[in-house]
């Protein structure tokens, strides 16, 4: 697919801080991969503080924040093809996971210091549109455990939950069929749910 179909206007080169590094990373430059992660992390972090309202909401994050448009702005759609974009979103998913986890840990530490009010019990699990720190942290731990025996499933969950990628996009990024991605997602999410419920029952959440 030609990238010109994606965006009509042509912004100045400097508006795309990630593009060059992304292209280098795609060409197999391992160091560029790390730099890409760092850069995406910084950009998303700044964005998250501006857009997700970390400080404003106190102890929870609004989900489905309007990040994607800002995401898209990080990459020059004219120079980056579809596969590169998929790669970028995969990196962005990992960065988003780190941001959310770091943030939740920082706040938990602050609470231990006695600075913050206790977390309200989130009894609206199914309907809630807010994501508590505890949830992020338990999910992060459970994903690490999943990763031990099911690397593929853990990756799929990461791309989907933290990156918002669909089956097809994940399939492209991971070199799998969409059917396999879906199967992997469904079993991994069931396993995680069971794990997290055990967490909550055991009082860890």
């Amino acid at each position: 697919m030609s990238s010109s179909e994606f965006s009509k206007s042509s912004p100045p080169e400097t508006a795309w801080p990630v593009t060059d590094i992304l292209l280098q990373a795609q060409q197999g430059d391992a160091l560029a991969g790390d730099r890409l992660m760092a850069l995406v992390y910084d950009e998303l972090h700044a964005m998250a503080h501006g857009k997700l309202g970390f400080e404003r909401t106190g102890h929870t994050l609004q989900t489905t924040a309007p990040v994607p448009e800002a995401y898209l702005k990080l990459v020059d759609q004219h120079r980056v093809g579809w596969q590169n974009r998929a790669h970028f979103f995969a990196v962005a998913a990992m960065a988003m996971r780190r941001i959310l986890v770091n943030h939740a840990e920082a706040r938990r530490a602050a609470k231990r210091g006695g600075n913050a009010a206790p977390l309200p019990l989130d009894d609206a699990l199914a309907i809630s549109t807010e994501l508590s720190d505890e949830r992020i942290l338990s999910l992060n731990d459970a994903l690490d455990r999943l990763q031990q025996f099911n690397q593929r499933g853990a990756r799929v969950v990461e791309y989907r939950f933290f990156g918002g990628l669909g089956y097809d996009d994940i399939a492209t990024t991971m070199g799998l069929s969409s059917v396999t991605v879906r199967r992997s997602w469904e079993s991994a999410r069931a396993w995680l749910r069971r794990e997290l419920e055990a967490d909550f029952v055991n009082g860890a959440g």
Binding site: T63, P68, A124, R145, G163, G166, D168, S187, R194
Partner: protein
Amino acid sequence: MNTPEKHSGAPSAERWVAIEAAFAQAASLTGDARIAVLRALDRDDATLAAEVRSLLVASEPWWLDNSVVEMPSTMDAMPERIGPYRLVRQLGRGGMGEVWLALREDADFRQHVALKIVRSGLETTELMAAFRAERQILASLNHPNIAHLLDVGQTPEGRPYLALEFVEGLPLNEYCDQNKLTVDERLKIFCTICYAVKFAHQNLVVHQDLKPSNIIVSATGVPKLLDYGIAKVLSPTSASGGNLDGVPMATPDAMTPEYAAPGQIEGAATTTASDVYALGVVLYQLLTGQLPYASGGKRGAMLERIREAPPRAPSLAVEGAQRSRLAGDLDAIVLRALGRTVGERYSSVEQFAADIERSLSSHPVSVRAHTVGYIAASLVHRHRLCGRCGTQSRGEPQTAGVEHGTDDSHKRPHTSRSTS
């Protein structure tokens, strides 16, 4: 039964491959077929069977299904055209996919349509077959207060789409509130909606997902029902483990529970009586600004409330003059529509609407005891009102009969709406 491999006891990578395969097989089946597979597994490897059962139980929708970021459904750009349609702008996005405003341009006619493009990852072949079948049925649904399904097709990437009549206006509640409609004006619009639903029922089509956001009122006060027949196509019966990626409506968990009749919530077949109930909720909300049951809190708890307790009367949900307006006929009518069992509800939308009209013209309504006192009171009231209330002609579809009076808030620009 063996204990599943829980927490701390994570399986090996090899073991997981077997678990995933067995789980995927069981999850793809329903009913007896699933039970048969699990029984066979019990004989071969009871621990594996227990593990699979435990994962199936954990297969309900939950928060992980909603990504922390909302992405365009695919990263590849939408083409400029899909079939005969030129995409203009995105109107919305939801679990099912995206909705675009599109323009159909032929040699001698131009038409705006709402294109609903199903997102990738759904069962394309089945959906296309269901869409085509539904189009046959919906083609007969020619009514001025029902938005038309114009076309079905597939994008070049194979995603099914629906082309629907594009309706510009506001969702029912917003329209009524913005224009500060009186109770009577709201009831009149509501009756128009009822007659459209009745028309569909006569054509054997149940909406299944009636709610204010599916009822758009144009700037001139004409309501239109959106998404006729679509809920049905998108909710094939699927047991847990089937379509779990937050997709739609497949399980009771995924329907719009606030408007779903108690039976529907438990998975009973939807019938015209479910539409009566949903309309009852819509009317309740229209008159009180509240839902009959508090939403929020645990979903299970809410469903429990709907099953167990009758809702409080609409008049008790408001105060002052509005309370006395709703007390009596309107309370009785709304509560009748919200009957928990089919037998307790109006047996048709037509009866529901007829009672509202009787109440509007101060004739005795069917759901109140016809005591001499009640009939006499209606009579007196009717004669007192006589000068100002015109009789509403029944079954007149297009006019909402709304007068805006001196309030000019309706002149505010209306945003275009379509549901996603």
